[in-house]
């Protein structure tokens, strides 16, 4: 009897929920806003699906309907990745400045 690969993915999913649960509870409340912006950025890893879709067009028609949706998703996810990580960095930088001032 072979185990369906879906079950493996489900196991990863459920274990990750537990990891997420413990990791997020340990986040200090003062960093909850950066937490939201960074989760935003990392959930844009959905771009991997967008890239596969965009590159799947046939050589003589690279803009078939499915790849167009891929291209659009790339733009959306890219805005999020760059915007999310940079704005998080900008916020975290402000938490640093004061430390230095105090020293």
């Amino acid at each position: 009897m072979e185990i369906d690969p879906f079950i493996f993915r489900l196991s990863i999913f459920i274990l990750s929920i537990f990891i997420g649960y413990y990791v997020v509870w340990s986040v200090t409340p003062s960093l909850h806003t950066p937490l939201m912006s960074v989760t935003n950025a990392i959930s844009s890893v959905i771009i991997v699906g967008a890239i596969i879709a965009a590159l799947a067009g046939s050589p003589n028609n690279i803009f078939d309907i499915s790849s167009i949706f891929g291209f659009l998703a790339i733009v959306l996810a890219a805005v999020n990745i760059f915007g999310g990580f940079l704005v998080t960095q900008r916020m975290l930088q402000m938490y640093k400045k004061k430390k230095n001032n105090k020293k």
Binding site: S37, I46, A53
Partner: protein, 467 residues
Amino acid sequence: MISANLSAIFYLISGILFILALRGLSSPDTSRQGNYFGVIGMVIAIAVTFLSIGNFSTSIIYVFLLLIFGGAVGSFIAFRIPMTAMPELVAGFHSLVGLAAVFVAIAAFLNPSAFNLGSIGDIKLASLIEMSIGAAVGAITFSGSIIAFLKLRGIMSGAPITFAGQHYLNLILGITIFVLIFYLCKSQSETFFWTVIAISFLVGVLLIIPIGGADMPVVISMLNSYSGWAAAGIGFTLENTALIITGALVGSSGAILSYIMCKAMNRSFISVILGGFGADNSSSATKDKQDQKPVKSGNAEDAAFLMKNASSVIIVPGYGMAVAQAQHALREMVDKLKKNDIKVTYAIHPVAGRMPGHMNVLLAEANVPYDEVFELEDINNDFANSDVAFVIGANDVTNPVAKTDPKSPIFGMPVLDVEKCKSVLFVKRSLSPGYAGIDNELFYRDNTLMLFADAKKMTEDIVKNLD
């Protein structure tokens, strides 16, 4: 071209880096390192995707151009956005994740062979279920976040929009989505797929319009959670571990934040979802009665005098401070007080502002050291031993009614015990009630001095008077 096994391992590594990115946020010192882990994880995931495809057509040029275009737009926004607008920004970003999930699901549905999911009209059953759930949750995230964005931005009124039978309608639409997915699996028909997405967009709107402005911190956290589940749904479709791990992390992160926010307002998650909070006028009777009570009001000079003669001051900032952009003036005031050897600390209620941790970021922006900023449970006992509480832009989170009046809509909500201070300075533009629509008993206390003015202007005037 790398093998599927190798790329799966790289996706796992990028998933682990994302876990470390969140782990870093457990303290400000490790947070920046965490963010770099996140960036590295993202770079690995994208690089591996390119390598695993291998045979590039000319379309790769467009992929890079669009990546750069999207990246430039994102960077521009990230550098230009004022910190006070973070809630809108996050809501806007959530909507993009949601829409991207919908688009990827559509692309997979229209060209399943590109993702090894079967062929058109004969998509694997599990994949079809996964992609329609991903698309549905993504669509709800998208339209819900757009409504949240419009409300936060003030383009749409923050007042809850309710109508008869609203919840039944949502329930029916929710069931319809599941029925349609069932028929989609049986028939593989495109029509069902598009209908599922269309109804989900509608559900997203209907879910968020009844929720009032005061509940926005919960809404944002909730949408954060949805965007994670949408990503996980797509992750199952694409059989991609990086996406599954990330989706689970983000999903549970948003869920925990929603829980924390609900708890801070002593409201159940269900009652927030059902909405309508802040719309009832049941408290108007008590308001009329209290309007006749005397209110002591003062000016900047009085406030400066009180604070100069204090030995400890606790500052209670709220959303009004963000609206008035008073955080920099506030910091100036605190600097002056500190020069006079007055101990100054900040007390932050978990739901102050329009999103979790919003006040902390604004104070950080104004260079307030984070070790002077305390959470509710850490500072609440200090009010009794302090001379002055300076409430700036906060209202409902200081209302003693939450402790005394079981009939009040905010009864049981943990509040900051500002009234225990020897004197309370309350900066506010008028006596109008806060978002919960209830009068604040604090205004009429003997030890309260109301400072009626714009928060920024008042703080600047106090600074002048402190010299």
